[in-house]
Amino acid sequence: MGDHLAVLQVVLPLAAAPLIVLVRDRGFAWIATTVVSYACLAIAVGLAVRVATAGPISYEIGSWPPPWGIEYRVDALSAFVLVLVALTASLVAPYARRSIAAEVAHDRAYLMYAMYCLCLAGLLGITITGDAFNIFVFLEISSLAMYVLIALGRNRKALVAAYQYMLMGTVGATFYVIGVGLLYLMTGTLNLVDLAARLREVEDLRPVLAALAFITVGIGLKLALFPLHQWLPNAYAYAPSMATAFIAATATKVSVYVLLRFYFTVFDPSLHFGDVPWREVFIALSVAGMLVASLVALFESDVKRLFAYSSVAQIGYITLGIGLDSQASLTGSITHLMNHGVTKGAIFVLLGGVALRAGAMSMSVNSLAGLGQRMPLSAFGLVIAGLSLIGIPGTAGFVSKWYLIVAALEQGHWWLVAAILAASLIAAAYVWRLIEVAYLRPAAADAWQRGEAPVGMLTAALAMVALCVYFGFDTTFSVGGAQEAAQLLRGTR
């Protein structure tokens, strides 16, 4: 049993999905989803502990040794991302029952759970597999499930949002597979570790650079790298609340993981990238994303779209760390994967509770007037998570931004520090807009008056808010794990 943990990580949610479809009962579906999510978290933590004590784990699917067979490989970086995905899943799953009951037609609710399990299986699969083509397959499993999750939203705009995401997501996946195809033509292998070793012997670098370009743009689409983020705001805004919470906390982060894997494990920047100014490109796009998306968020009137644009800006921080390419900056990036995942997850989970009480899926900022009195705990949670989004000391967001600033200073990029602070200031402005409306403006006379969110939803939300604060103080897991992962990525050079 213990030896098969790596494969169980993916097989459990993958097997749960058809089971849920066969039973067709939404009560059973919820229990199965919750149990599977917690099992996944237990396995992910177990794997992380093992990697920390005994080094990377390699699992041969069907006992076919790599590079011929598919290898599941867990190292410091993948263990870190596995924990993030499983943790979010296990917090969102118990929350899902009330949220789905309120937002999705009852006879279709079990399908929503099935899609959720498939999405979870796909995201965990991308992270755990050591095979480039297998990443593509899992990428598509998770993406297809995500398109359906988004399309299940009640507003008809959800359909168009899902369609647009599907087009851009599939182009992204196709570009990725073109890049992998070129690498396969050059090396004859698909195993990531083997690929890395054989790429170092390749003489003709032009196909390798073409592969780099295709993979960067393809994965850039998936992770919503500015300006490839057009699909994200509507997809987040019109999806059912639990889908938004889960996708916002995990999907883009797992894509960042794939990007890190290819840039640092598979390719060797000093050997393969030649004079390609990849650092400058990443820094420029990241800074543009941070500033532009934050400004758009500032003037956005729909709450979910506001935080969706803020996600694009936060992804900018993460990719900025990749562009700076140092131990401190990668630590910051990887920590921010976790911290932003927890923060954005908390915000969307809380908004789901507010949406349930408001009886509407999309809310304007002004409709939150008087939220501080009507839903004090939810409003308080939003404030704390908002502070973490800005990066106030004592919250998770501060820690990762600190490492990014340190990395920028190490390389003497004063203007980057200014850009990071400017984007944080804009974040403070849009979070303040919410706080002002929620606490200082009286509720409209005809506003909904139905008290706090249900206990089940509130517990999940406050647990995530607590994590935002916890990771601001105790950084042994978040920064410690990220540091090891960053060392691993840079160690190959």
Binding site: E140, L144, M166, L167, T170, V171, I178
Partner: protein, 121 residues
Amino acid sequence: MSAIAGHYSYWVTVFLMVAGLYILIARTNLLKKLIGLAILQTSVYLLYIAPGKLIGGTAPILANGFTTYSNPLPHVLILTAIVVGVATLALGLALVVRIRETYGSIEEDDILARDIADADG
């Protein structure tokens, strides 16, 4: 001349790739966009399979008289990719059907106009 003739499978691949991407971006009909997507995906099948073929090579079987084999792995990979492509296309078509049911149109401009009308009214 040999650069063109010797690599003609690549030229076909590149043509399909660019044509598919162009249709996807330039058309406003949701169904035509999906056709472009399908062509783009098909070009990838060709990208993998064509180089796997050796002129005069056989399937990888153990038998007397055969020494040259074509690599079977790209075919297997593309079999998977075809399944993924079919699933994506099926989901895309299902979404277009639902959009047609709720909006009464599959033209991007019409749908946009209706959303704007919604926001005003």
